[in-house]
Amino acid sequence: MPQNILVVGELENGAPSTVTLELLGGAAALAAGGSVSVSLLGSGATAAAAQAAGASKAFVSDDANYDTFRGEQWLPAVQAAVEQSGATLVLMAQSTAGRELGPRLAHRLNTAVAMDCVKVEDAGGALQFTRPAYGGNAQATYTIATNPAIATVRPKSFDEATGAGASETAELPAAGASRVNVVGKEVTESEGLALTDAPIVVAGGRGLGAPEGFETLRELAAALGKDKAAVGASRAAVDLGWFPPSEQIGLTGKVVTPDLYIAIAISGASQHMAGASGSKTIVGVNRDKDANIFDFSKYGVVGDWKQVIPALIEELKK
C-alpha cells in the first residue's frame, strides 16, 4: 500500500546525519509508490537537502535557532511539514530529538507513535512496527489505527539511502519561543560516553595480562564508534589497578545492558555477569573454550586476544 512518508531529519556537520539517511533508505522501501520527503531544521538545512538521498522533497528552515534541539521550537515546524507533505507515516530516529518529538507530535496530531522500532514493515496493507520490550526478553509488534502513523527507529535498522537528494524544497517557518531555555552544554570527551548508556560495551578482564591491554580495548571502542562504544573492566582488572573503579562492571560495579557486549579475556564469573548478563548480545573472546563467558555468549571467539583484537580493529576500519 503506498505511503507518503516524512522523515524527520537531523543535521550533523551541515549534512543529513547517518541515521537520517538510514531512515530515508527505509522510507524508500516502504513508500511503495508514495512520496518520500524529509524535514531538515537548522543552519545549512537548504544546502543539506541536496544530500538527503531518496527524498523527493525537503521541508527546510535555515534558522540557526533550530541548531540546538528544543522540542517546543521543533514541534510546530515538524507538524507543518507533516501537514504539507500529507504524510501517512512519519519516521524519526530514536535519538534525543526523536525521543521527545515522537510522543509530542503524536499528541498534537491525535495519533500514536511506536518508539524505538527495529523493524517497520508493510504486512498486507497495514504497517507493522516491531520493537523490543521487557529488557530485550520480548519483542512486540504494533499497528497504529490513526493517521499518520509515527515511529522512532533505532539506528542501524535500515540501510542508508543512496542516490540523488531532494530536488524540491519548501520553507518551514522560523523558530518560535520556547519555555525551556538551554543555558549551557557540556560535551563529554570521547572517553566519557557513560558505560551504562553506551549501546556497545567493550570490557576487559585480568586475562589482558597488563594495563596496556586496555589501550587496545580503547582502540577497538574507537573503531566501533566513539559515540557508541565505551570501555569497562571486570573487578579483577580494577583490583589490579588497571582501570578506574568507576568503570567497573559487575555485582559491585555498574550494571550495563548494551545491545552488544564484547567481553575480552574475562572468565565470566557470576559476580561479573551480574553486571553484564542483561546485554542483548554478548560476544566472548577467550583462550579457554570452556570459559564460563561462553555460557552467556551468542558468539564466541576462542583465541588469544592479543591477536584477535588487533585483527578485529583492522577489519572494522575496512
Binding site: 585480568r206 579483577a236 583490583d239 555485582l251 559491585t252 564469573a269 557470576s270 555477569m273 553486571g275 555460557d295
Partner: protein, 734 residues
Amino acid sequence: MAAPRDTPNRAQRLVGGWWGPAVGMSALGFYATATAPRDEAGREIFFNVPAGPWAVYVFFAALVGLLVWGFVRHASLWGIGRPTPGLFRDIPQRLRNTARLGLAQDKVRRDRYAGIMHWCIMSSIVVLTLVTAQVAIEADTPLNFLHGDYYLFFSFYGDLFGVIGLVGVGMALYRRYFADFHRIRWDERLEDHIIIVGLGLVLLTGFVVEGARILVTELDAHPDWAVWSFGGFAFAKGLEIFNFAEDQVLFLHEATWWVHVSIAFLWLGMIVFTRLDHLFFAPINAFFLRTDSQGRLAKIENIEEQEVFGVGYVQDFTWKQLFELDACVRCGRCTDVCPANIAGQPLSPMHLIQDLKAHLADVGPAIQQHRHEHGDAGREVSPVALVGEVILDETLWACRTCGACVQECPVMIEHVPTIVDMRRFLVMNEARIPATAQGALENLEMRGHPWRGTSLERTTWMEGLGDVPLFDGSQEYLYWVGCSGSLVERNLPVTTAVFRLLRESGASFGVLGQEETCNGDPARRLGNEYLYQILAQQLVETFKAKNVQKVITNCPHCFNTFKNEYPQFDGYFEVLHHTEFLSKAMQDGSLKATHPIAADVTYHDSCYLGRMNGIYDAPRQIIEMVPGATLTEMQRTLSKGLCCGAGGGNMWQEEVGERRVNHVRSEEAINTGASQLISNCPFCIQMFEDGVPAVQPEEEGRMRPFDIAELLEDAVFGPKAKEETPAAAGDSSD
C-alpha cells in the same frame, strides 16, 4: 561429634589452676596456728617501723574508699544503658566461665608468651596479697600463726612469688621496650609504663626491706631461718658487702619500707583510674559472657514499637555492653586477628572499644544528669554523633562478623554484637548504606535473594540430575540449597555434589525448589533486623507448614541462622551442615570414597562453621577418608582461622583499604603449597575464586578452590570428565 580440637587440653588447664595451691598454702597457715610452740621461728611485725601500723590502716582505708568511689563512678555510667536481658540465666555455666575464663584465664594463654607473663604477675599479686593479709591477721587479731615451720614455709612461698612476679615484670618490660613492633603499643599510654615499672618497684623494694630486716635480725642470729626467705636472704647478703653500721641499715630499712608501702598502695589505687581495673572487671565480664551461641545476634523484640532502631546513642547500648568497655586492657589481640585490620581496612576492634569508652566518659555524666532532671532518654544531649562521628560508618561496614576478636579477647568483650547494633542504626534509622550493600538488601526485599542480576532460577541446578524429590513432609531431611547454592553459577556444582552424595548415601530427603527464599542472614548481618525478622518469620512458618524436622544445608550462614537464630522465632529444627552429614555417612559406611584423589589440599575453616559453631573435625575427617588426599594446615587455622572476607555482608560490599581480605587469605592458602583449597561455604569459594588468581596470575599450576563436597563427589563417583584442568587432577605439582 568429637569435641572441637582446640579446646584447651588438660595440661593447659592445670596451668590455669595456679590459684589452687596458693589458696591451699594459705589455708594451711590458719590450720597450723593453734598448736605450735611460741619460741620457734617468727618475726616481729612492723619491725623497726613504729608508725607502720597506723600508716598502713590509713592507707588501706583510703584505698577501700577509693575503690568504692571508683566503682560507684563507673557503675553510674553503666547505668545509663538499657537493661540486659538474660544476664542471670544459666548461672552454673556463668560460674564455670568465671572460673575458667576469668580466674584460670583460658583465653590469655592463647598467646603463650603473654600467658606465662600474665600468670607470673597475676599469681604474684594474688599470693603476695594473701601474704600481706596473713601479716595483718597476725598483727591485729588474736590469731598467732606466723611462727615455727609454717612461718618458714610462709617466708619461702612469699619470696618465691615475689621472684615469679619479677620474672613476669621482666617479660612485660622486654615486650614493651625491646620486642619488635607489637600490638600492645598500638594504643600505648603513660599508665602502661607506670603500671609495669611501679609493680617492679613494689616487688624490688619489698625484697630490699626484707633483706635489711634479715641483715639485722636473722643473718647472724638465725641463718637457718634466713635461707627460707631466699630472696630477702640474697639481698641481705648483698647489703652485707657494704658493711653498713646497724643504724644505717635500720634507716635504709625504714625508708625503703615507707617507699614500698606507699608505692604498693598507690599502685593499688591506680585500679580505679587505669586499665588495672580489669583485675575485677575481667572475671565479672566472664560471668556476663553470653552462654548461647556466638553465632546468634540479639533479636529486637517488638521492633515496630521502638523509638530508635539499633544503637545510635551510647545510652541505647545495654549496660553489659557499657560495662565491658571498662574491661578492655588495650592488649590489641582483637585488632591483631581482625581480618579487616590485617588487610589494612579501617577497623580496629580495640580502638572501637576504646573510642566507645572515651565517648561514654565524655557524655555519660551529662546524659545521666539530663535523665535525672528530665526523665527522658536524653538522646539530644551528646554534641557528637555516636555513629558517624565517634565511630565512622566505614569502620562499621568493614566488620566481617567473623568473631575472631571475640574469640581472642582475654577479657571476654563481645565486639560483634556491639558493631551490629550500630549497623542496625545506620541501616534502619539513618539508611546510610554502601550502594552495593543497599542493592543486595533491596534485592532481598524485592526478590527474596541477595544476588542482584542473576540469570539463574532456583531450579536451574536440577537440570540433568534426573528425579529431584521435592520435600513434602514425608522425607527425613530437607536439603536446603540456599540462594548462593542455586543462583550463583560457581556454586551450582557444589549443590549438585551435595545432592548426588545425599542420594548415594540413601538418605531420605527432598528440596523446596522454587519455594525456597532467603532465610534473612544477609539482612541481619547488614543491620536490617526488620527485614530479617520478616523473612525469618515467613520461613519458619513455611518449615512448620511443611513439617520440616531436620535440615541439611550446604551454607554455613544458612546453617547458623537455622540452628542458632530461628529458635528466636520459635523455629526449632535439627540442623546439619553437609560436612557433618557426609562425615557421618562415611563413618557408617553409607558413603564410600573409593576413587583415589591424589591431591595436596589445605582446608579453610569458614567462620560460621568453625568459630561460631565449633565444627572443625567433621570436614577434616572427610578429607582424611578421601584416599590419596593429604591435608596441609594453614598457619591460621581452626579457631584462629582467618575470614575469607565475605562475612558480615561484605560479600556485597566494595572493600575500602590497602588490600582485600580474600587476597590475604588466598595468599596464606597458597603458601601451604597445596593444589586445592577446600572450604565448606559458598561465600568462601567465591572469594577464593576471585582471590587466588589475583595472587597467582599465572594459570599454570594455580591453586583451585573447591567445596569439600566437590572433593568427596570425585572420590565417591570418580573424577568427572568435566574436570580436565590439571590442578583438579592434582598432578600439577610444582
